[in-house]
Symmetry: C2
Subunit: 110 residues, 2 copies
Amino acid sequence: MGASKTEHFSDEQNTIAIIAKALGHPARIAIIEHLIKVNACICGEIVNELPLAQPTVSQHLKELKNAKIIKGTIEGNSICYCIDETTLNHLKNYFENITKQLKIKSTHCC
Amino acid sequence: MGASKTEHFSDEQNTIAIIAKALGHPARIAIIEHLIKVNACICGEIVNELPLAQPTVSQHLKELKNAKIIKGTIEGNSICYCIDETTLNHLKNYFENITKQLKIKSTHCC
DNA sequence: TTTATTTATTGCAATATTACGATATATATT
DNA sequence: AATATATATCGTAATATTGCAATAAATAAA
């Protein structure tokens, strides 16, 4: 096959998986880190920061946009990207919750 | 192509991407959640919980093991899986750090 | 030892991802 | 209008992922 059986899982499970998947590439992690480092919106220049061709970067940006991890607004003849805090906060909360439950239970046996 | 240019990115960026990628499938999120819910090690039974065939589940478990998100130890003729807290804590800390930086800077413009 | 149980591996088909050259689009500048 | 600049899309090749039937491997139970 090759297609995931998303219909068998909960909305939350699918949502978390989509966000995690979008972050599952070093280039996209690098994009996120750069957006944070330069603080807020940058118009263009992401391409120059990455060791990848312009169409490839554009594709990675599109995937981050689809997962709602970044937002892009048109600014003259360039596009201004910044992080969508809501989505990263959602992911952060999810992992905080999971690790908290692990700490509470912590029944180590392996 | 199809292969990521991992050598151009930092170790930390690659590590986070590998963990995120491993969590980038709803079945693997479901496995993690089940491991937490039943608390600690369960020997087998994960296959019965998921709407997927045994070889498929085995493959997902392998990927979670490769990313060091779960650990598996042999227990009689079955295998006992549990979560490797270190890895999920690493990821949690990473996202806490990122979202903290976002909160500090918070220069909204999009 | 034979049989059952549990998990892993192999092989394969369908689909998705990654990367990039070529090209399109859209605005800015001259 | 013509040209430059910035980003997106298309097309395509290489590779990876997903899913499962068939089968192997390894231990447990009879």
